[in-house]
Symmetry: C2
Subunit: 254 residues, 2 copies
């Protein structure tokens, strides 16, 4: 099944919110998703109730000492499996940044341990294009790019598209991708302007579904849960359901 | 005058928007601010109309070849001075991440070249706690921390407070700081909850002024200008004026 990197090097566009809520829905639908948190800030880890005190129980141990990924899987409070991040992951860039195959390590680990033979993997990373986020992109066969409906996020998307094309050249494979507009506020002229510009630039790669700006999505982290537990009838819950349906129908999750 | 690092390792909380609009106002008030963009994404550089094609004309040249900072100052279209960022800055972490004094390089350069004898310096960085953002913090005598009014941003603030205290211990100096709540939506219960929690945790370090969620602030980048040029009568313009007045009155800019 699909290995999806949820990435945009612009900060605060909804990467973590999107990973959280798509994983929740995939779990509810019995797909047994595995979430890998590559962000040293470990926000997704915290919201999932998967925090580990010692970095030896986190993804850092995989990079530092070659620990097996399956051994790091935690069955989080939230109800699905997470490989937790840890602040020590911020050392990965400076410590292992120059290794010959460091960009391919997560990919190699997932393949070696058959981690996704019959389940989807979702990967969340910090907004910098560095060793960790590139690990998630190299390990992915799909990239989902959340873009908040504002101009600075759109700039980030253009940069990312150039990066993905350069990587496709290097990896000699097509990175299937989708752009999903998030924090969409239908009352703002700017939202519609961004929508139109993104579709002009990326055409069918832009999801039909837009995730509306909905305060319930911002509240759920305070209760360490996803939108379906926090506010199942909210607009945010509907939008993520519609988004997942669209991604499934279009074969993005195969 | 003050050297201010505008930093929060959470993405999308308004670091760039705050640096842009405070610099604009300082320039309008004749304070001749110098903005240093340390974010490889170079969004502030782009909005200021200070983009340089070649990294030799950007801050990267200072790190790579020891170029003088004053030689890199560009008088940007927007009307004040900027040392531009460039995508090549993303190599700084992996290339120079382990140098003995790399965290102090920007500080040493600013001091050596007397860059801020009679003008304020504002520094914008990417949301990761790494070599570049630490360079801005080591070079600063003030840290301004924008926090968007949502729970994930508040988590980021707690982490940052711990980091600043650890740094104070190492640098043996007090880092004067202010937290400013941004994207505040008075209609949301969550906004008031965050406001109360932040003031409980950080007391007088939290600015009285809050920057409201105001679409004009998100629109100005599309016109490559600041809020005072784009929408001088907007709520966003008022809030940044009130914020600067408060920072000046409380001696934060001395
Ligand atoms: N559709 C939405 N409606 C309302 N709030 C949202 C929405 N999507 C995200 N948010 C809120 O916006 C903030 C930023 O979102 P999030 O942390 O998911 O982005 P991110 O891209 O993972 O950020 P970072 O770059 O820091 O990792 C969070 O407080 C989140 O709760
Ligand atoms: N008070 C506000 N009202 C409305 N929109 C805002 C406000 N502050 C910031 N924004 C918008 O929110 C988005 C994120 O802000 P900004 O890019 O300044 O944050 P940042 O912390 O610099 O992000 P990054 O971590 O990616 O560097 C931008 O599109 C910006 O225009
Ligand atoms: Mg995130
Ligand atoms: Mg920024």
């Amino acid at each position: 099944m699909a290995k999806i990197a949820i990435f945009n090097q612009k900060g605060g566009v909804g990467k973590t919110t999107t990973t959280l809520n798509l994983a929740a829905l995939l779990a509810k639908r019995g797909k047994d998703p595995l979430v890998i948190d590559l962000d040293p800030q470990a926000h997704l880890t915290a919201v999932c109730g998967a925090v580990v005190a010692a970095s030896e129980r986190s993804l850092y141990e995989f990079y530092c000492n070659g620990a097996s990924l399956s051994g790091l899987i935690k069955f989080a409070n939230i109800g699905w499996k997470v490989i937790p991040a840890h602040l020590d992951l911020s050392k990965v860039d400076t410590r292992f940044g120059k290794g010959p195959n460091v960009l391919n390590r997560l990919n190699a680990g997932i393949v070696r341990e058959n981690l996704n033979t019959d389940r989807p993997i979702l990967m969340d990373a910090c907004p910098m294009l560095g060793v960790l986020s590139l690990n998630s992109i190299f390990a992915a066969d799909r990239v989902l790019v959340p873009i908040s409906a504002d101009y600075l996020a759109m700039k980030g998307a253009a940069q990312l598209e150039r990066t993905l094309r350069a990587l496709e050249h290097v990896l000699k494979k097509r990175m299937e991708r989708r752009y999903v507009i998030t924090r969409f506020d239908a009352r703002r002229k700017m939202s519609w302007d961004i929508d139109r510009k993104l579709r002009e630039s990326y055409g069918a790669d832009v999801c039909q579904t837009r995730v509306a700006e909905n305060v319930s999505l911002a509240e759920s982290p305070s209760r360490e849960c996803d939108i379906f537990k926090h506010a199942p009838a909210s607009r945010g819950a509907q939008d993520y359901q519609t988004l997942l349906d669209e991604l499934e129908t279009s074969g993005f999750l195969r």
